[in-house]
């Protein structure tokens, strides 16, 4: 049988060697690595951004017209108002102001004073005490406000918006998700005992 000589072996290896395509010769194939890099970076950026943004909405309906019939108007309303001042909360009900403890109506006074130290966000307003005040109101006037979950929250002009939102939280419910707000944010199931005053209207103190 014929065998390859040394020179034939060299010739075969030389001809059969895989040619590496140089940068100048590679025009036929698209280099997708830079595109892939960009996509990876954009993808990572988007994933990192949306991971931190979980938002919700607090429904704040416009005040209803006084001549519109409603279930709450068929009975005597307590007209509960929370005034947010720089020194604390003044809670009004039934045409007067509630004294500390939120069970008796008296002369104008600070119902829930501020704490001496701020919380994690630096706010000195006592949100847990305001929630306890709202619970006391619901216990004290249980029959009068059985189906009335409306409240007016008014603030001084310079109160930070963050304090307003936390105050709305404090008057709305005693524990998270106690009020079952409907999907369209118009009403809901407020029968839970820990659901306090979820129908908030806003006002400003002059």
């Amino acid at each position: 049988m014929a065998r390859f000589t040394a020179s034939q072996h060299a010739y075969i290896n030389k001809r059969a060697r895989h040619k590496e395509v140089g940068p100048a010769e590679g025009g036929g194939e698209l280099n997708i690595i830079p595109f892939l890099d960009i996509i990876m970076n954009v993808l990572m950026f988007l994933l990192a951004t949306i991971a931190t943004v979980f938002t919700a909405t607090i429904p704040v309906p416009a005040p209803s017209s006084s001549n519109r019939p409603g279930p709450a108007q068929q009975q005597e309303r307590l007209n509960i108002t929370v005034k947010v001042t720089p020194t604390g909360y003044i809670v009004g009900a039934g045409g007067g102001f509630l004294l500390p403890g939120c069970t008796t109506i008296g002369a104008a006074s600070l119902t829930v004073p501020n704490r001496a130290t701020g919380d994690a966000e630096g706010y000195t307003h006592d949100f847990p005490a305001l929630t306890q005040c709202m619970q006391a109101i619901r216990r004290q006037w249980a029959t009068e406000i059985a189906s009335d979950h409306s409240i007016n929250v008014a603030t001084n002009s310079d109160i930070p918006y963050g304090v307003l939102v936390r105050s709305i939280d404090a008057v709305r419910e005693a524990r998270p998700n106690a009020c079952r707000i409907s999907d369209d944010l118009r009403g809901g199931d407020f029968s839970n005992a820990d659901c306090l005053f979820p129908e908030v209207t806003l006002g400003v103190l002059r």
Binding site: I39, T55, I58, P160, G162, D183
Partner: protein, 187 residues
């Protein structure tokens, strides 16, 4: 004289056949070294397009920074897809369009009807009236009820009065249902 069969030189045909065989073998080896990234690229592109599409149509697309830090709340409701009014410490914008400049979260008195004590912000009122017209037209054409929803996205350090001024102005323009956009998680 060579004499033996083993010392016989291979023919040209045998050499060419051997070259072809070796070339095929080399080609297969080189092919197996390259990672095929095309399926991965397809997948990445699909994910990217999906994320961009979902982000552009959701209200979670809020550019937070030093001038706009949302307050936190314990409420657990779905974010609203209503018209977005963004109030940062330096500006008011509606759906990304600049409306008025603020100085440390306060609206300049010259921009309000009635001056410093006024509640109606003139440039915002003009723009919101246009938006009401557009929203009413769209609602009537699609056979839906105009609900007048506005999502308020405001910095947590803003004076409350600025937020009230925006609410009042939107109310005067014809919007009546406000949603305060907050970050989930407090208490």
């Amino acid at each position: 004289m060579s004499g033996t069969a083993t010392a016989e030189k291979a023919s040209l045909i045998a050499v060419r056949r051997e070259i072809g065989r070796k070339k095929r073998r080399n080609k297969v080896e080189h092919q197996s070294e390259d990672l095929n990234v095309v399926p991965m690229m397809d997948m990445m592109t699909i994910i990217l397009v999906f994320l961009l599409k979902s982000l552009s149509s959701s209200s979670a697309n809020i550019p937070q920074g030093d001038d706009l830090r949302l307050p936190r709340s314990s409420i657990d409701t779905a974010p609203s897809s209503a018209l977005q009014v963004i109030i940062s410490r330096v500006s008011i914008s509606v759906n990304g369009r600049f409306i008025a400049a603020l100085q440390n979260g306060v609206v300049d008195a010259s921009l309000k009807r009635g001056g410093g004590n006024g509640l109606l912000i003139n440039p915002l009122a003009d723009h919101m009236r246009e938006q009401v017209q557009i929203a009413r037209t769209l609602a009537s054409r699609s056979g839906q009820e105009f609900r007048g929803e506005v999502a308020i996205i405001a910095d947590r350090g803003l004076p409350s009065r600025t937020v009230y001024e925006v609410l009042y102005t939107c109310g005067q323009a014809g919007f009546a249902d406000f949603r305060l956009l907050v970050l989930k998680g407090a208490r």
